[in-house]
Symmetry: C2
Subunit: 206 residues, 2 copies
């Protein structure tokens, strides 16, 4: 049940690559996305490209006007950020509660792999990559709950506060601190204390 979907459609693969490019900032805010360009870049036809763009539009990553194509949307104003962040925190804590007592070593492997990549990005001061892995890590916290509904709502929020991630990263004198701040989450999960884990998440996000 709930097969992990071994083979994925082209559209889904492209969604992930485009989302990474945009959330990390490699594709700038306001930039225009042309279907034929993307089709050439990913060596597919426009069908899967349109599929990917529609998905990103619903997530709020890009904005589309009929017959005018898609623009990378500009991040939400800060006042909404203040609303969204606690909501996002609530969702992540809720997700963790769902699977907390079913954790396996595979789960930790996934998270530690992401954090390892984040560490490398920190060491090379690649802030785009840091943001990408930061978001990927938190996304994986939600994904683990295997609830498409939860993930959809979380995505709709996070894509709108992605600038908050990047800007919060810039505050650190030494980027490696960004990596280090994620370690307590994994440690708390390993220790097996639910309340401590939730508290760690809350401290981390705020």
């Amino acid at each position: 049940m709930n097969e992990p979907q071994l083979v994925r459609g082209l559209g889904e693969q492209i969604v992930e690559r485009l989302r990474e490019d945009i959330l990390s900032g490699r594709i700038a805010e306001g930039e225009r996305l042309r279907e034929v360009d993307l089709a050439k870049r990913f060596s597919v036809s426009r069908g899967p490209i349109r599929e990917a763009i529609q998905q990103l539009a619903w997530e709020g990553v890009v904005e589309t006007d009929r017959n005018k194509g898609a623009l990378v949307s500009t991040s939400a104003p800060n006042e909404i950020t203040e609303l969204i962040i606690p909501l996002r925190c609530t969702i992540e804590k809720y997700a963790i509660r769902l699977y907390f007592d079913q954790l396996t070593e595979d789960d930790f492997l996934v998270w530690e792999t992401i954090l390892q990549k984040m560490k490398q990005a920190c060491e090379t001061n690649d802030f785009a990559l840091i943001s990408e892995h930061d978001i990927a890590f938190h996304r994986s916290l939600v994904t683990r709950a295997h609830s498409p509904d939860l993930l959809a709502i979380w995505s709709a929020m996070v894509s709108r506060i992605r600038r908050h991630f990047r800007e919060s990263h810039l505050k650190y004198k030494n980027p490696i601190q960004i990596y280090e701040e994620h370690l307590p989450i994994i440690e708390a999960l390993r220790d097996g204390s639910l309340t401590e884990t939730l508290q760690t998440i809350e401290d981390h996000i705020e």
Copy 2:
């Protein structure tokens, strides 16, 4: 600014018609949606059909498996409802705060028009229509803030708890009570007391 999009793509039109069919029950839960059937029914090719199905899948109205097509969502009102309802309440209260001191008579006209339609639906015991106007009313509370981001996040949530609306309505012995429960919100807004309005919203959504 913010043109109402005069001409809409085939995909969008089909989304609306399919969503109505599903929410009203004309297409039953669990029923399978075949692309060619829908294409014939709407006299278009499979392209716009796939577009519509993808959108409904994101909204949570249908579920799709790769290479297996789409089913009308039957997933019970998961425990996620308990998470989403307070989040939704938070968003609506936040929205109201944004425009509370800029209300005009036009705003009340919009709301009272919706409630009037809801009243008629209550009088004819048309629960599908009651739900439709109930959701429309709350959506208009959010729309008034003129924040596409806020509306998108709210929509992502509400489309996933729409069944909660229907089922909560069924609890009433006399449907007119559903209508009457919305009146205090408008009254509080008219009275001009922000804190009282927010409290009313909270009590209403509970």
